[in-house]
């Protein structure tokens, strides 16, 4: 384990406060934001830092999320370090410009406080908003708790702004479960945090009249596919950068990160793969099953885009059965998006049962016993050869 080399303060913060604290330390040049539950308190907190003169940020209070991302794109194109934050419907409203930010290669950082998409309207946690953004060309990181929301936000700036990457980054944290729950966590010293994030030195600015260029031009049949190919390459470059930034962060804070967390995976026969706050619950389930001698393990997502598919397969190659838990649906796909991506990478490499579990939509609680049941199910699948062709819903009345 790494040990911290700089002073840290132990505090009690909600996930929203934790992300706001990271934004305060990042001290962005521009923040453009619009309130939406459950992200609202994050920007309330940041606006208070702004009002108290604790940041030098130009804060732009816009009339919608579409405008928030548009202002962020404009400011980032001008060479500013830019952050915003949103949730659910806000992300849905800004999505047009979310695609544009990544295609212009603007390293904007955006915490997304995960909330179910309407309809029916719902304010609680699921990952349908993150999945809405999965093909937008943004890097995506997941957080298990408030500490990780803070740590990921600080690291996101370094990853996004890396010259080999220059791609915007979403930091996912579960709505309410993390955003509104106070947790004990460590905040690194302001000077060390600012030294870690460094100064953003863009290699060009749209305001530079000595080196003018056009943005937003039409790329038709002659150039569009080359542009997309280049963008695909840039986001793939991000994997070694994520690892390098995590290493530097561990040297400072003592907290270690990688592409994902392998929890008792080495000798695990029954493996659950999940993302977000549920992984904390799943760790308890793994611990309890391990105490009974069951070789259970958890793979906790951190980096979702780019997708570290081969690394995941390498980490679970000793497994006998795998369950993938999705807190989102892809209607008509029979199985969640994480499940399908992981099983697709396993093709030709792992000839074992993969089972898709859909859970927690609209904030439906998930408890330790339910996750233990998933492990029991996996043991059953192995023992009896149960059919795994259909996605299974957890805790749904009528099933």
């Amino acid at each position: 384990m790494a040990t911290a080399t700089i002073p840290q303060k132990r505090v009690s913060l909600t996930g929203n406060d934790a992300a706001a604290e990271a934004l305060r330390q990042i001290n962005p040049d521009v923040v453009a934001a619009y309130p939406i539950t459950p992200q609202t308190e994050l920007m309330h907190k940041f606006a208070a830092f702004h009002a108290d003169g604790l940041v030098d940020t130009e804060m732009v209070l816009v009339e919608s999320e579409h405008s928030a991302m548009s202002a962020a794109v404009g400011a980032s194109a001008a060479g500013a370090r830019v952050c915003t934050a949103t949730s659910s419907q806000g992300l849905a409203l800004m999505i047009e410009i979310v695609y544009i930010a990544s295609s212009y290669r603007l390293p904007i950082v955006m915490p997304v406080v995960n909330r179910a998409l309407s309809g029916p309207i719902n304010i609680h946690c699921d990952h349908s908003d993150a999945m809405l953004a999965r093909d937008c060309g943004w890097i995506q990181l997941w957080s298990e708790n408030a500490q990780e929301a803070y740590d990921n936000t600080l690291q996101a700036i370094r990853i996004a702004e890396h010259p080999d990457v220059l791609t915007p980054c979403i930091v996912n944290l579960d709505g309410f479960i993390l955003s509104h729950t106070a947790e004990t966590m460590d905040v690194i010293d302001d000077d060390a945090a600012r030294q870690f994030v460094g100064t953003y030195k863009p290699d060009r600015s749209l305001l530079d009249t000595d080196a003018p260029y056009s943005m937003g031009a039409l790329f038709l049949t002659d150039n569009y596919i080359e542009c997309r190919r280049q963008q695909a390459h840039a986001i793939e470059n991000c994997i070694p950068v994520v690892e390098q930034v995590a290493k530097e962060f561990a040297e400072l804070s003592g907290r270690e990160y990688s592409l994902f967390e392998a929890y008792h995976l080495d000798d695990a026969e029954l493996v659950v793969i999940a993302a977000g706050s549920t992984t904390g619950t799943a760790k308890v389930a793994v611990d309890e099953l391990r105490a009974q001698g069951i070789k259970a393990g958890l793979l906790k997502f951190r980096l979702f885009r780019p997708f570290p598919g081969q690394q995941i397969i390498d980490a679970i190659k000793g497994a006998k059965a795998v369950a993938v838990m999705d807190r989102a649906l892809s209607f008509g796909l029979n199985g969640g998006p994480l499940f399908h991506e992981i099983r697709s990478f396993a093709y030709g490499q792992l000839d074992i049962p993969f089972v898709s579990y859909i859970y927690g939509l609209g904030g439906r609680d998930i408890v330790v016993d339910e996750i233990k049941t998933i492990f029991t199910d996996l043991a059953d699948v192995l023992e009896k050869g149960t059919d795994v062709s259909q996605a299974r819903f957890i805790g749904v009345r009528g099933d």
């Binding site: 260029y213 943005m215 150039n223 080359e226 542009c227």
Partner: protein
């Protein structure tokens, strides 16, 4: 107008400027949008009083003028919107719109 391209217009993905930018300023001149035209403005130098109203209002800077005098219409860039003909003073009517298909192809 010259047909000569002075800037690259196609790249392979490795050398394409990052982020879909066009690093050369002012190159719209090289992109001929005149082919989009359905109607063509035809300028009559006999009737023109050189008030420059069309020159000011043309959204594509396709009215050619020099030293306060209209020289003609740049068909490489005129998209045929008809603003020039509409705005030409009623008493002058020096610009008329004709179907592109009926035009003698002289540009």
């Amino acid at each position: 107008m010259s047909d000569k391209k002075t800037h690259p217009t196609m790249y392979d993905w490795k050398t394409m400027p990052r982020g879909a930018i066009i690093p050369q300023a002012g190159n719209a001149e090289e992109y001929h949008t005149g082919a989009w035209r359905s109607y063509r403005p035809v300028w009559d130098p006999e009737k023109c009083i050189h008030c420059l109203t069309c020159w000011i209002l043309c959204p594509d800077a396709a009215i050619m003028a020099e030293k306060g005098k209209i020289l003609g219409i740049d068909y490489d860039h005129c998209k045929g919107c008809g603003i020039c003909a509409h705005e030409c003073p009623d008493k002058v009517q020096a610009i008329s719109m004709i179907l592109e298909a009926d035009a003698e192809d002289d540009d």
